[in-house]
């Protein structure tokens, strides 16, 4: 019965996807599963960062790529969720996964508030982006003065020496974190695929393409934009919980700051906004190149704080000017992969 159900879901997911595409995906997944055995510990942490960015990129992509709403303050959901899960753990010893259950609704509610205020009052486009920045900055400064979470001095999670990997408590060596993030990224990918093929996905695309025409076709644009922001916020919230328990510290400046929000969007923009695989590809390309840059600079004996950011800026510039759709729409046809189901 369960098997039949799973087969049904798999069939629905792969409906219209060519065998070639599935082969590529399977190969990639196999590679990622085997990675910790192939590469050294340092590269595992790099891969964790890549997957983290792939995950948050996909979550952001739901709002921007699918529904067309530019959010530049997405760090607020990461920060809120992280602080809630961390505080519950520190104060009451509540396990991170339960903490996530508490953090998710809060992040979703935050998204709902921002969305309601913006969409109800007709704040769109660049003004909406500025509004999202304002909220994130508000949170950054606010949390920087919030005594219960130790304000700007930062919130630290107690790190006990672990003797074994404990995924339930998110305590363990980097390899464990790697698999958690990999699972999350895969789940997010499947979720995005399900969303884009569904009724809600079609309505989002219509709104993205032409909101007024979408309304003329009977779509309640306000409602579906709300769905987009709430779902995007909810999915992003897991990243906050992960962040808290992986880095074991939270500073309002780092976690709510605008550079965090911008880092979140670079992957999807470079990879391809609105595509399924774009955010993932973008995360790999961006971080891969950045790490190579760092390695090259280190090899030449340069220690330039800010070089990586300049690099990100240049990448963004090049993509926006020369390849506005992102790398994936350019690359996919050359690999014989089409994201459109026939």
């Amino acid at each position: 019965m369960m098997a039949a159900g799973t087969m049904g879901i798999v069939a629905h997911l792969t409906d219209g996807v060519s065998a070639r595409t599935l082969a590529w995906l399977a190969a990639l997944l196999a590679l990622l599963l085997a990675a910790p055995w192939i590469v050294n510990d340092y590269l595992v942490t790099v891969l964790i960062l890549i997957l983290y960015l792939a995950y948050t990129g996909q979550a952001w992509n739901i709002m921007m790529g699918f529904a067309g709403q530019l959010s530049l303050g997405h760090a607020i959901y990461v920060g809120l969720a992280g602080y809630i899960a961390a505080s519950l753990f520190i104060r009451f010893g509540i396990d991170p996964w339960l903490g996530f259950l508490a953090a998710l609704p809060v992040a979703a509610a935050c998204g709902a508030i921002i969305g309601f205020l913006a969409f109800r009052f007709g704040v769109t486009g660049v003004y909406f982006a500025i509004l999202t920045i304002a909220f994130a900055e508000f949170a950054r400064i606010g949390f920087g003065h919030l005594g219960i979470v130790n304000a700007a001095a930062g919130l630290f999670l107690p790190v006990a020496q672990y003797t074994h990997n404990d995924p339930w408590r998110l305590r363990g060596d980097p390899t464990m974190f790697y698999y958690v993030m990999l699972a999350a990224t895969v789940i997010a990918f499947i979720l995005c695929r399900l969303l884009i093929k569904s009724r809600i996905g079609y309505f989002w695309l219509a709104i993205r393409e032409d909101e007024e025409a979408a309304r003329a076709a009977g779509i309640d644009a306000f409602r579906y934009k709300m769905y987009a922001i709430v779902i995007s916020a909810a999915v992003t919230s897991f990243a906050g919980v992960f962040y808290a328990f992986f880095y074991n510290n939270l500073f309002p400046e780092q976690v709510f700051g605008i550079s965090g929000s911008i880092q979140m969007i670079l992957g999807p923009i470079i990879g391809g906004v609105g595509t399924l695989f774009g955010p993932i590809l973008g995360a790999f390309v961006l971080t891969g190149l950045a790490e190579s840059l760092n390695a090259a600079l280190a090899a030449f004996g340069f220690d330039l704080p800010g070089a990586e950011q300049v690099f990100y800026g240049v990448c963004l510039l090049i993509v926006v000017v020369a390849l506005p759709e992102g790398i994936w729409p350019w690359l996919a046809p050359r690999l014989g992969i089409s994201e459109r189901s026939q």
């Binding site: 093929k197 569904s198 009724r199 079609y202 309505f203 695309l205 219509a206 393409e209 032409d210 007024e212 025409a213 979408a214 309304r215 003329a216 076709a217 009977g218 779509i219 309640d220 644009a221 459109r340 026939q342």
Partner: protein, 241 residues
């Protein structure tokens, strides 16, 4: 028989300008009703108030017995009143089929059922072979047909067509006229159209309303309206008769 759509005393002002001035008329079910008049007469503004793109300042608009004046565009569409745009607005990055599926999903929960319905509409409008093409690559006549298909997919009782013949060559116009006539005959969908192309108006409409400076100056059967001296003077000119 009560009319499907009934306007009474509808007015719309833009600051000092009265675009639509106390317009009243009824559209019978399954009729094809044309609104004509010179540019700036207020035709599209009238349409916009009916379709929900803007709210009328005065008057009532009753559709299938329910008042719809002031309702937003998506609510109006859900009630069974679909529209096309004067400057076509397909969803550019989506395929032809996906464009119509969006419309079909209004009353169908499942994408599969919506796709089936969309495909039958595409067949009817002669776009089935191009269903995988991206909408932005279509020619103008095809884009117009696509808009009609998308509007039809929402299963309207009344179809509002805003200058759907504009920019079409005579053969294309005839083809569109034939399609609309067939649709009206086969499905009984009521059609309210704004048109400048008199060839199409005469071929399609059972009733014509003439608007000038926001005011109704004539209404009736097409043959009678085109001979009306006021209409000839303000819009058609003597040669058209």
């Amino acid at each position: 028989m009560t009319a499907l759509l009934s306007l009474t005393g509808v007015s719309k002002r833009f600051r000092g300008l009265v675009a639509v001035d106390r317009v009243s008329f009824d559209v019978a079910e399954s009729a094809i009703f044309a609104v004509i008049g010179p540019n700036g007469a207020g035709k599209t503004t009238l349409f916009n108030t009916v379709a929900g793109a803007m709210a009328p300042d005065e008057g009532t608009i009753v559709f299938a017995g329910e008042p719809i004046g002031g309702l937003p565009a998506d609510a109006v569409c859900r009630r069974g009143l679909a529209r096309t745009f004067q400057l076509v607005r397909p969803f550019p990055a989506l395929s032809v089929e996906d464009n119509v599926i969006v419309g079909a999903l209004l009353h169908r929960r499942h994408v599969g059922a919506a796709r089936d319905h969309a495909q039958s509409l595409l067949r009817r409008l002669g776009l089935f072979d191009k269903r995988c093409q991206i909408a932005s690559t279509l020619t103008l006549p095809d884009r117009k047909r696509l808009e009609v298909a998308r509007a039809l997919a929402t299963q309207p009782r009344l179809l509002l067509l805003d200058e759907v013949m504009a920019g079409l060559r005579p053969t294309e116009t005839d083809r569109m006229v034939a399609t609309l006539r067939e649709l009206n005959r086969d499905t009984g969908v009521t059609i309210l159209l704004i048109e400048h192309v008199m060839r199409a108006v005469m071929a399609l409409a059972s009733r014509v309303l003439v608007l000038d400076h926001g005011v109704v100056i004539a209404e009736g059967a097409p043959q009678a309206v085109v001979r009306d001296p006021a209409v000839v003077q303000s819009y058609l000119g003597a040669e058209a008769v």
